[in-house]
């Protein structure tokens, strides 16, 4: 596929989606408190453009920091569980159980534990919500490494660390990036949970909350769209990293 097509096709699909949305609202005659249409969103966005910019930045940086830390946490758990069967058996039920807890219920707990430390609380929720897929993918990748891969290096007297960074880690990268894409979208959910449930005057979640209080429905919708755009932006940054570090896994 031509490079230009790779850009044009997603933009066209977005455009079609917006037209369909506008048409749906128009044909049903929905008022904007029921369903705002794309043409309502732009004025709402423009009116609050500076707030969008500064709150968007709050949301973005805390998501990125949280996601980066969740990569470290996920990698740590994944390595421990990937190399030790005992640790895998021991940690899986804990992690699965923890992951099954709705994070919305964890938000107030954390907010109470670290009162007033909003940035840290938000980042913490991001880590909690998004490290799980990374941990699982690394653990599965490492534990399913064919023994011959280890043997070619082990038979030369290589250390466990050399086997890890020369073979196990690069071989697991495609699975890791698959999980990181899932975690990226989860991370935004984490940021906004904290921003909406425990509002502290920061982030797009706070703007959403203000829209709700003042019954400004187009504003609420445009916050959702802004979040979607940030999500897409971060997702494609991950895709870019993937093509640099794990591009070899893609076959033409």
């Amino acid at each position: 596929m031509k490079n230009s097509a790779k850009f044009i096709i997603p933009i066209l699909s977005l455009l079609f989606f917006c037209i369909f949305w506008e048409w749906l609202v128009w044909i049903n005659g929905w008022p904007n408190y029921k369903m705002a249409s794309p043409s309502d969103l732009w004025p709402a966005f423009w009116k609050f453009r500076w707030l969008f910019l500064s709150y968007g930045w709050d949301t973005l940086w805390r998501t990125v920091v949280g996601l980066s830390l969740s990569v470290l946490v996920g990698l740590g758990f994944g390595i421990i569980m990937g190399f030790s069967k005992t640790m895998r058996i021991a940690l899986y039920p804990l992690l699965v159980g923890f992951n099954a807890i709705p994070k919305a219920t964890v938000v107030p707990v954390i907010a109470l534990m670290f009162v007033g430390m909003h940035d840290m609380n938000t980042i913490l929720i991001v880590i909690l919500i998004s490290f799980f897929p990374i941990a699982v993918s690394i653990a599965v990748g490492l534990s399913t490494l064919e023994p011959e891969y280890k043997d070619i290096l082990l038979s030369l007297g290589a250390s466990r660390f050399e086997i890890f960074y020369k073979i196990a880690l690069p071989k697991t990268l495609p699975e890791f990036f698959g999980a990181l894409k899932v975690s990226t979208t989860l991370a935004f959910i984490g940021t906004n949970l904290m921003e909406i449930i425990e509002p502290h005057g920061k982030g797009l979640g706070h703007l959403f909350d203000s829209g709700k209080i003042s019954a400004d429905y187009p504003l609420m919708f445009s916050v959702l769209i802004a979040l979607a755009l940030l999500g897409i932006f971060l997702f494609y940054i991950v895709v870019l990293f993937e093509s640099v570090f794990a591009g070899w896994a893609e076959r033409n």
């Binding site: 011959e148 043997d151 007297g157 690069p170």
Partner: protein
């Protein structure tokens, strides 16, 4: 290269397995795989090991490479007791296990990164290139493993096993998954490598023709628990051709080997009945 290995007066035992017994711990109990197995291989010799499926042939490769310690008995390489993996061994398996994220040349260089850290990069690559030329893949050094055919991957795997000039080459059914004609091509490649590089080789195989065509000696293992059942000296010489496989002499040897395998299989079946 290494011509001094060929002087008859300098031949000495290079690999020695002495009274090896080994059993695997299964959930159902102990599974004895090797029982008082002993054999020696002289320096520079090529030895094929054949035997019934599951008789412990692959266990021998792990013992000889130091990846596994036997329950009883000792393995010696160059008169030194093998107690852990050593960099003087090269291995290739049925699965070529090439690293998909490296190109062909960088795949071959891999062992040098572990055992010859001080060797300059250019020297490593030159060594890898020389080997690629021997196996006829000099034009593919920049290719990705996924772009190669099964036979080509196996050639690369052989180069990787030899790049650090190991004294001992251990091959565990490297041609087992290839089609018949590709396999014959690789036999020729193997002979070329044997001529140009100096190593003592253990080849595990299920293919009796392959065992005879490549080796100086063929060892037949008995059924599990395996011990040495039969030894065949191959008299094909250094300049072998595929047509040598169809002479009456070779046909006779092959028939004899086939018969030995049959005896070995019966032993294994009987043993399983009693277990």
């Amino acid at each position: 290269m290494g011509g001094d290995y060929c002087h008859p007066q300098q031949i000495y035992m290079h690999i020695e397995l002495r009274n090896i017994s080994h059993a695997f711990q299964l959930e159902t109990g102990l599974l004895p795989v090797l029982q008082e197995l002993s054999f020696t291989i002289s320096k520079g010799k090529f030895v094929s090991i054949v035997g019934p499926s599951g008789c412990g042939k692959s266990t021998i490769t792990r013992l000889a490479s130091g990846l596994l310690k036997p329950n009883h008995g000792e393995v010696y390489i160059s008169n030194e007791l093998v107690s852990s993996p050593r960099s003087t061994v090269g291995m290739a398996f049925q699965n070529p296990v090439l690293l998909e994220w490296r190109n062909v040349l960088d795949n071959i260089v891999l062992p040098l990164e572990i055992v010859s850290r001080e060797m300059p990069k250019a020297g490593r690559k030159q060594r890898a290139r020389n080997l690629l030329k021997l196996v006829g893949l000099e034009e593919f050094e920049k290719s990705r493993p996924s772009e190669l055919s099964g036979g080509m991957k196996q050639r690369v795997s052989l180069c990787r096993a030899l790049v650090h000039k190991p004294e001992v080459l251990i091959l565990d059914e490297p041609f087992g998954a290839l089609d018949a004609f590709t396999r014959e091509d690789l036999w020729q490649t193997m002979l070329t490598l044997k001529r140009e590089e100096s190593f003592t080789c253990i080849l595990i195989t299920h293919d009796l023709r392959e065992a005879v065509f490549l080796a100086d000696e063929v060892l037949v293992l008995s059924g599990r628990p395996a011990t040495l059942q039969y030894k065949l000296d191959v008299s094909l010489g250094d300049n072998r051709k595929l047509t040598d496989l169809y002479t009456s002499q070779t046909t006779k040897s092959l028939a004899m080997l086939r018969n030995q395998i049959k005896i070995a299989q019966e032993k294994q079946i009987n043993h399983e009945k009693f277990c």
